[in-house]
């Protein structure tokens, strides 16, 4: 005779009773990271004493920044106009060059012999910080805005090129197939099948890149590649901290303005 209670639960092997995985590899990795952080702090002479003294210096530095001084406003204006020009030119040429590179690099449109060189170019463009690229271009074309523009064109290709390539790889191939089936040449497949599917996102990338270039253009000036960064660095060296603050405030204002502008552009294009 079978009783209801006799229907025992099936025996589960001990190893499977644990509801969650616990991996010793993850624990070991966390331990190693923590140990390395402590070691690196010691190596870099990062002590509590220095930290406290640093805070003190920082406070004195900040107090010397107030009130911001706009008496050199003409220097500020020239610097910003140049920065703006660097950002716009770099975005324009950067995006223009990104388009063919991204199409060549998209694995759903192109064979391997085209994709890997295009991907290599994009990876190289992303490999270095714009400041380092700017230093290289200063050696090549001399001090000034041209080096800044070239450095940011490279950065733009690295960023827009990569994102655009990924956007193209996500498009619906059904639409491409239909355009191909009409006997359209490749360039027409691109303009009628590929671009309509990605144009909205491309506008988004461009505005984002303009925003990034505006910020970066203030930075490449520090190494002598034109724009407001040069004035900022000079002011630091002359200990004109009140002018430094004036420049910093203006940079914040310009970046915010850039953000509003890109939102506005996105609204026009319905993205």
């Amino acid at each position: 005779m079978t009783q209801p209670g006799a229907q025992a639960l099936p025996r589960i092997p001990a190893g499977r009773r644990q509801p969650f995985h616990s991996s010793w590899q993850v624990k070991l990795l966390a331990l190693l990271v923590a140990a390395y952080a402590v070691y690196a702090l010691g190596q870099l002479d990062f002590s509590y004493d220095r930290f406290i003294r640093g805070l003190d210096n920082g406070a004195r530095f900040l107090s010397r920044m107030f009130p911001p001084s706009y008496k050199n406003w003409d220097q500020l204006l020239t610097g910003f106009i140049e920065s703006m020009e660097i950002a716009v030119l770099a975005t324009f040429f950067g995006v223009l060059l990104s388009l063919p590179i991204a199409i060549l690099g998209a694995r759903n449109l192109m064979p391997a012999w085209a994709t890997w060189p295009a991907r290599l170019i994009v990876t190289l463009c992303r490999a270095f910080n714009p400041v380092i690229v700017a230093i290289v271009f200063i050696k090549a074309v001399g001090f000034g805005a041209l080096a800044g523009v070239l450095a940011l064109v490279v950065a733009s290709i690295g960023f827009v090129g990569k994102l655009f390539m990924e956007a193209i790889e996500e498009i619906s191939m059904k639409q491409i197939e239909a355009v191909r089936a009409t006997g359209a040449p490749f360039l027409s497949v691109v303009t009628y099948g590929v671009l309509p599917q990605v144009i909205g996102r491309l506008v988004g990338f461009c505005t984002y890149q303009l925003d990034a270039n505006l910020r970066n253009s203030t930075m490449v000036g520090i190494v002598g590649a034109g724009g407001i960064g040069g004035a900022l660095f000079a002011a630091f060296q002359r200990f004109e901290y009140d002018f430094v603050l004036a420049i910093l405030i203006t940079i914040i204002a310009v970046v915010l303005l850039g953000e509003f502008a890109s939102n506005y552009v996105k609204r026009i294009f319905h993205v």
Binding site: K174, Q175, T182, A184, P185, S188, Y192, P196
Partner: protein, 252 residues
């Protein structure tokens, strides 16, 4: 009637040793609607896509008005594709383009990329597009974006796009599978009448046996990558359907 398209010994394997098509021999004459029926995965779609080389055949010959399609590449392939209209199951319209732009896509094979980019099409193409919009009953939709249309409307645009090519044969890969029964009948009606009016053969893959019987002049039944029935609809018996789809419970 003259044979327009002649397929001989056609095989296709996506993976080596696993053939999807195992030697297809079919001739299509210059008129009439042929329905290809068969269960899913039996190679109907592959067969129709091999004709305009959206899929490459493994072996065999596809002779289209004296032109061997199975081996051409590049410009010759594009020129051959211009002469073959294709309608897709999921319409495959370019969603963000307008209805008019989608129709003119059918002329891309004849217009230079530069002129296509600048939307400069010959006036007779634009006139033809407007005419076709009337035929498919979407005259007021020229400037609407394709993604704002209903399924039936999209498929009509898909058919109009294929007709814009002034094709010499019209292929349709499951054109009614995503549509309701009433719209399906309308789409089949449109395919049939356009084939007759333009004097071109129409080849349609279709799941729905009743629709096939109603509209086709000829039915080709496929199973397991082979043709097992080829004849007029009134000769298609229940025994044939059992052979094509397997089992019989579904017939009652």
């Amino acid at each position: 009637m003259a044979v327009v398209l002649s397929i001989k010994g056609l095989t296709k394997s996506y993976k080596p040793g696993v053939p999807v098509l195992k030697g297809i021999d079919l001739d299509f004459e210059e008129r009439g609607l042929t329905a290809i029926i068969g269960s899913s995965g039996t190679g109907k779609s592959t067969l129709i896509r091999i004709i305009n080389r959206l899929v490459d055949p493994s072996d065999g010959s596809i002779l289209f008005k004296g032109l061997e399609l199975s081996s051409i590449e590049g410009r010759h392939l594009r020129e051959a594709r211009r002469r073959i209209g294709m309608v897709f199951q999921e319409y495959n319209l370019v969603e963000r383009l307008s209805v008019m732009e989608n129709l003119l896509t059918g002329r891309l094979g004849y217009v230079s990329p530069m002129n296509a980019w600048r939307r400069k099409f010959p006036p007779e193409d634009v006139a033809h597009a407007l005419e076709l919009l009337d035929v498919i009953g979407l005259a007021d939709f020229a400037h609407q974006r394709a993604d704002s249309l209903s399924g039936g409307q999209r498929q009509r645009v898909g058919i109009a796009r294929a007709l814009m090519q002034r094709p010499e044969i019209l292929l349709a890969d499951e054109p009614t599978s995503s549509l309701d029964p009433k719209t399906s009948v309308e789409i089949m009606d449109l395919l049939k009448s356009q084939g007759v009016n333009n004097g071109i053969p129409v080849v349609v893959n279709i799941h729905d046996v009743e629709l096939a019987r109603r509209f086709a002049d000829r039915i080709v039944g496929m199973t397991g990558g082979r043709v097992v029935f080829d004849g007029p609809p009134d000769q298609l018996s229940d025994d044939h359907l059992k052979l094509i789809y397997g089992g019989e419970g579904w017939l009652q």
